[in-house]
Symmetry: C2
Subunit: 316 residues, 2 copies
């Protein structure tokens, strides 16, 4: 029997934006919104809410800033129960840019934070919650969090924050099922009044498997992206998630059409997915940055050399 | 701490042969053997032992038949602890083709069987075991096995067969972790004197995750293929498996070189991996045959139509 509490958030445009400077055109984003709405996906995360004082509109596309007007243009006239989400990075948002919920097309704000920035994240979350938004905190790079610091952060989130959901984020695609189970169980045991979510990266082809693992251990908020689009190896493929979940409100077919028509052509222009250098950074629990650099160099297929370069340097 | 009992079998050439009529050239197979040997992989499965009375050498390459002489040519002069395995399908082997173990370069024979053919499989296994080979039975299409029939087959294998290992084979890439756990636990509980293995297909990007799941529940024999090469969506990528296992005898680097030098070029000629029609047959627990036909037609990217064609026909 399906679990009605499970909510699916699609972050195709937001996470995919990390590989094209958030420069998806209006038509493409509208097609994605249309398909997600028809498929019954609960949330669509459309980009980041970044301060224009920190980033230039000349360098970045619309989804780096997510102005309410740009969002309205994309969703206008499409019948939908899919709520719009935007992501905020600690230290990069101008909170005055965020209008009260009632005046905005956005329904949810997700604050991405490292464990060390959790106090700043809580300040932002509570501010947005007071403006009327659903809020979450997404704890990034969790595979490298020290246990005592993570425990403290989770206790703070439970006791001091108004976030409705706390996400475990496997930024490096480094987690195996046993660690996913460990982290989700820990989060569930501390966050007694909140939901727990997972956002997985696919470096080792485990994004979907770890998402199922999180669901088994009672995570109710799960992220996916269409055809796995996302930084480096990408994310949990939304189509697999929809195929797995038994809730009859979901319909995979609009997603299949979207992939045929938009994502197969896109894959010829943008690179993401199972690519060995990303698998290597995943298994070594490293940020994919070095692998992304390799992929834009002439040494892009020199896997052994890349592996050796990451493992040779003793730190002590 | 690593589990010494875990044995890795690479079936790149055998499962990959299903997409090129087993026609890998001698040089390529030798490069694979060399890399697997240097990586410390326990077994290399090199093809099928099929009767030449049933299949023509004009239509199929050498690895459809696996003559001892062809194998010797490939492995000659390479320092190695990697044992050679061949697969046998029930009803397709001429048992007189199989010489006694001492006269052959083959160390292991794996008999692939559906649950319904288990009596025939046991006959073959016991015959090969008496000739001195290590033997396994690989139960195919396990996601569709009726529980009572599977139980009976497992009891027979325990009581009547000389097989050292019994593999759970997720032929359709349909299993999720919970069913993998269920099947491995069942097999372990009945097969008290044998080892249990897993061979997973990657339709839903779960081959690696399910292999880890099987390891967690004490499967000690695990299959992988280089860069996931194999029929349709392919298999559990060997490089991920080697990255995961902690046994210091394994070295991932020769596999990385092999992928760079041989498999990246090969991927331009052969198609396998995460492709939506294979994901669809996986989630519907269907044989990939229809999807393979679609991929060689002009409708290859018409995913929704394909999904509808598989789900529309009521059987009753």
């Amino acid at each position: 029997m399906f679990r009605e509490k499970i909510k699916v958030l699609d972050c195709t445009i937001r996470d995919g934006g990390l590989i094209n400077n958030h420069d998806f055109d209006h038509r493409f984003v509208r097609e994605v919104y249309k398909a997600l709405s028809a498929a019954g996906v609960d949330y669509m995360e459309i980009g980041y809410k970044n301060s224009k004082k920190l980033f230039s509109e000349k360098e970045f596309g619309a989804w780096k800033f997510c102005d309410d007007e740009a969002i309205k243009k994309v969703i206008d006239g499409i019948e939908s129960n899919t709520k719009i989400s935007v992501m905020v990075d600690v230290g990069r948002v101008d909170i005055d840019d965020v209008k009260p919920r009632k005046e905005s097309p956005v329904g949810m704000i997700r604050v991405a934070s490292y464990v060390k920035d959790i106090d700043k994240a809580i300040y932002l979350i509570n501010h947005f919650a007071e403006k009327g938004y659903e809020t979450t905190v997404n704890i990034m790079a969790i595979s490298r969090a020290l246990d005592n610091e993570l425990n403290e952060a989770l206790h703070q989130l439970e006791e001091e924050s108004k976030a409705g959901v706390v996400y475990i984020v496997d930024s490096f695609g480094a987690l195996y099922q046993e660690s996913t189970e460990f982290l989700i169980k820990k989060a569930k045991s501390i966050l007694k009044t909140k939901e727990v979510g997972i956002h997985a990266h696919n470096n080792q082809q485990l994004a979907f498997g770890n998402t199922i693992e999180a669901i088994i251990h009672d995570a109710n908020y799960v992220d996916g992206t269409v055809y796995g689009l996302g930084r480096a190896a990408g994310n949990c493929p939304l189509e697999l998630l929809i195929g797995f979940l038994k809730n009859p409100k979901f319909d995979i077919r609009p997603i299949l059409d979207l992939i045929s028509q938009e994502f197969i052509p896109l894959r010829k222009k943008l690179e993401w997915g199972y690519i060995i250098p990303y698998a290597i950074t995943g298994m070594l629990d490293e940020h994919p940055k070095a692998a992304m650099e390799l992929r834009s160099s002439s040494r892009k297929e020199s896997y052994r050399e890349f592996y050796d370069s990451l493992t040779a340097s003793g730190l002590d």
